[in-house]
């Protein structure tokens, strides 16, 4: 085998593997997409990867009307937006304080963050519920927000990595110019952390979008349903047949997918910039 041929074979193998991965990702999605345009009879009788005969949106209109998906979308978006903003603020502040200063309780605070990450979920809900209720936040959209804001080790980790990459001399020269610590943070550190914030925004947004138990438990009111809880209710209702459910699944996936595809360039930039400054 000539070296050139070897290289060609290698290249081919790489493409075959990549295409196989893409197929694995696409096939379940395609099946669901097709099913969302079929009637339950068609789903039951024909090959799942056969494209639908016609693109009629009957299933979608039923689902939109019955499921109140638009309301769910609104609530989800609100939660995501507010959570990302709050977490970016708290995350940068915490990371700045912990990275740039030495103080007595540092180890303990870090330990708390770790504990928050590895807390067994669900089972602590009983005591969390009491706290939320006493704060007067039960059955309001703020309940999940304070919970999401509470502890996020990953976020702290990434920000700390990133602040490490900002030379301390910068701080010091600014201080010499008569800036206060606050001004250093405001004018310099916070803006410099924006790329990392992009990464965290994505991770946090995905987490908040996906969470089902917290919104379900703390916001029982029907006007406070998120996309995920809407889907939960929908799946167990009498419309649980695959035709409607597929349409519901696609509807829930759609907004994030569209946002993702529109901004994928920036998202990747953000991840590369923010993920690992080791």
């Amino acid at each position: 085998m000539t070296p050139r041929l070897g290289v060609a074979v290698k290249k081919l193998a790489v493409y075959v593997i990549l295409i196989a991965i893409c197929l694995m990702i696409f096939i379940p999605l395609l099946i669901t997409l097709f099913a969302s345009f079929k009637t339950s009879m068609e789903i039951g009788s024909e090959f799942s990867l056969k494209p639908p005969g016609s693109f009629d949106f009957d299933n979608y209109s039923v689902v939109l009307e019955k499921g109140k998906f638009l309301q769910g979308f609104g609530n989800s978006m609100f939660l995501v937006a507010v959570s990302v903003v709050i977490n970016a603020l708290l995350g940068t502040m915490t990371a700045y304080a912990i990275n740039r200063f030495d103080f007595r309780l540092k180890k303990i605070i870090l330990g708390l963050f770790v504990a928050g990450m590895i807390m067994p979920g669900m089972i602590t809900e009983i005591s969390r519920f009491t706290v939320i209720k006493n704060l007067g936040l039960y059955n309001t959209i703020w309940a999940p927000i304070v919970i999401y804001a509470a502890a996020n080790l990953v976020q702290l980790y990434i920000y700390t990595q990133f602040i490490n990459g900002i030379p301390k001399e910068l701080d010091e020269s600014a201080m010499l110019d008569g800036c206060s610590y606050f001004a250093v943070f405001n004018k310099m550190i916070f803006p410099l952390l924006l790329p990392a914030t992009a990464t965290l925004g994505i991770i946090k947004a995905v987490d908040v979008m996906n969470d089902m138990y917290v919104p379900y438990l703390y916001m029982p009111s029907s006007t406070l349903r998120t996309l995920t809880t809407t889907l939960m209710y929908f799946s167990s209702s009498k419309f649980g047949s695959w035709d409607y459910l597929s349409a519901a699944i696609i509807l829930v996936m759609l907004p994030t997918l569209v946002i993702y595809l529109l901004f994928s360039k920036y998202i990747f930039k953000g991840i590369v910039a923010g993920a690992v400054k080791g």
Binding site: S40, M41, G44, V85, L89, M93, E125, I126, F129, T130, V131, I132, K133, N134, L135, G136, L137, Y138, T140, W142, F182, F185, N186, Y216, L217, P220, S221, S222, M232, Y233, S236, S237, K238, G240, S241, W242
Partner: protein, 448 residues
Amino acid sequence: MQQVRPRMTRILCTLMITALMVPLFSACGSKEKSDVEKEQSAQPATQQEQKVEEKEPVTLKFPIWSTITEDLFNKLDLVNEYKKEHPNVTIELELLKDTEYENTMKIRNSANELPDILPLKSAWLINFKDNILPLDDLDAAKNNMFAADFKVNDHIYGVPESQFNEFVWYRKSVFQEYGLEIPKTWGEFVTAAKKIKDGGKYIPIAMGGKDAWPDYPFNEFMPSLVAGDGDYWSTMATIDEPFTKGQAYYDAYAKIQELYDAKVMGPDPLGIGFDQSKLMFASKQAAMIGLGQWFGSDLKSMKDVDMNDVGAFLLPVRDSESDPFNTISMVDTFFTIPKTSKYPEEAKEFINWFFSDAWYSKYLTEAQLQSTVKDVKIDLGPMFKGAFDMSNLNYVLYKGGSEDYKKIESAIKFDVKKMGQDMMAGKDFNKMMQEMNNSWKNARSKLK
């Protein structure tokens, strides 16, 4: 529980927001502050009132666990119907997921955040008894045929909404095709299923085994039916080895195993959820499905189901026609009022109204359920015609089991529906019974 005082937390909250403002994010911080504070002013008084009411405006929280109920309440306009008579009361419906209902209520209970009207299943009455008000004096309880049967510690705690029976729903045309009669004994029932299976055209019995609960007509009810004892779980808690041949539980389960082993529930009953099993019956892929009376309204709401082709018969479990024909009578959805409710009087009034003629008959007719109230009869229509014309018919009123039973159940995590799944999966039946006997006996010996 050490309760943090709300006022304290309010102060903390305000402090937090102020701290947030220090780093000059004033725009963001202050907006949040006003929002949080708005949230904290306990009840926004944005009630639209045409005239000044003497009575305070009241909101009663009323959770439900089924989308079917929600649809019915919306269709019959429960909220506004009640407003007509009680202009100051707003009923706030909260739809919860059926599988999570109990968990949610337990979590809420620990924070004293139960709703004002709390519907419960009969088996949960015991669990919640310390947290709900006795309703002995309530008119709705006095007029109820079953409320007294479910007393806990000699008090009525809940008023049951409806009563229904358990049926095997079947497609008449399939029975005609194979020349089948309505089965009158267990043997005839299994034979009928096998005959349909041999025909190879239909799945004899649709079963949503993936969700575990759809096996309840067999795994949950048959021990009571074989024993002819609606309170069989309590009886079982007095026996050391109920999983022994000759005991009602064992005999019932041997029958169920026979049915599962006959493979009359399609190629993979465990891979199908309830929704799919429902569809299989609705689209006539399956000839029968074992479900309660509530399934009627469910069927009607589905598209293109030929309701004239659907009939229902009571599941026969007896060995011969000379035995009494035991059938389950299920009483469900007990309206209770938590002790923490701020408006117990209004909640009582609502329950009385719910069971009054004006609303109750209308609602039950729509829901196709039978009444629990004396002197109220609901016409169920032609679908059930003949179902109750059995000789020696004997109603077995199903109960949830005593405290002792609950203790054993918790200790060994006794779950009949999961056992049903294991039986469908083909686990060694006698070994299972043997193991159950051992753990049951062990748990009984630890009862105080």
